[in-house]
Symmetry: C2
Subunit: 108 residues, 2 copies
DNA sequence: TTCATTCATCGCAAAAGTACGATAAAGGTG
DNA sequence: CACCTTTATCGTACTTTTGCGATGAATGAA
């Protein structure tokens, strides 16, 4: 891959693809589901709910943070992660709009 | 990555993640958009609409095929790709359901 | 202070993804 | 038939992702 060509696409396509990438690992889907089931969450509880090491889970959390899907507040030796409700709502709408666009036409 | 741990997650999470992965590159988003704007499409027309080489576009089409998002009928030296409307509809619903699940609860 | 707990980050290794040119396959055209 | 067009696939190179152990940073407990 002599250079990622992602920048050659339009911003909308890049943004949607980036969001999809954040969701493209089962661990991250599982994390989001877990967070949705608790009002407050610390990393440790998530680690014990996943078949992955603590450092790996931490990395997945970081990816979700970068994408804006979750929020994290550092509180001494423990961090509290939770869903970013407004962003998730917006992302849901973006995907919905995308799929609606695709469904408008048929072919073959 | 001493071994992909994806199989350690439940099938639903794996499936959603796999679909997200298929959408996780701007070229593939662009291809789906392009296909939605034409009733019949051959690879060549898509290649000229993207800033990528023919072989790379062909690979992206393969990814979309594997995910079931598009259909391809080989017709001699030219192939006709088109959206798989029913699958796209179902995938749209799956994402919608997922985001709705996430929005049900709030935290922090 | 010393130790234990909790989590992030670093460093490394392996796997997967992305991209391209070259080539093959398959059919149409002259 | 020889040639051209179109698309898939192969081989290769480079990048990114994924995963883990080790380490570091920060706080609380003894």
């Amino acid at each position: 891959m002599p250079a990622a060509r992602k920048e050659a696409f339009n911003p909308q396509e890049q943004q949607l693809a980036a969001l999809a990438r954040a969701l493209s690992h089962p661990a991250r889907i599982a994390i989001l589901r877990e967070l949705a089931q608790r009002n407050t969450c610390i990393c440790g509880e998530i680690v014990s709910a996943l078949p992955l090491s603590q450092s790996t889970v931490s990395q997945h959390l970081h990816v979700l943070l970068e994408a804006g899907l979750i929020q994290g507040t550092v509180d001494g030796p423990r961090s509290c992660y939770c869903l970013n409700a407004s962003v998730i709502k917006a992302v849901g709408k973006a995907f919905d709009h995308f799929f609606k666009t695709l469904s408008r036409l048929e072919c073959c």
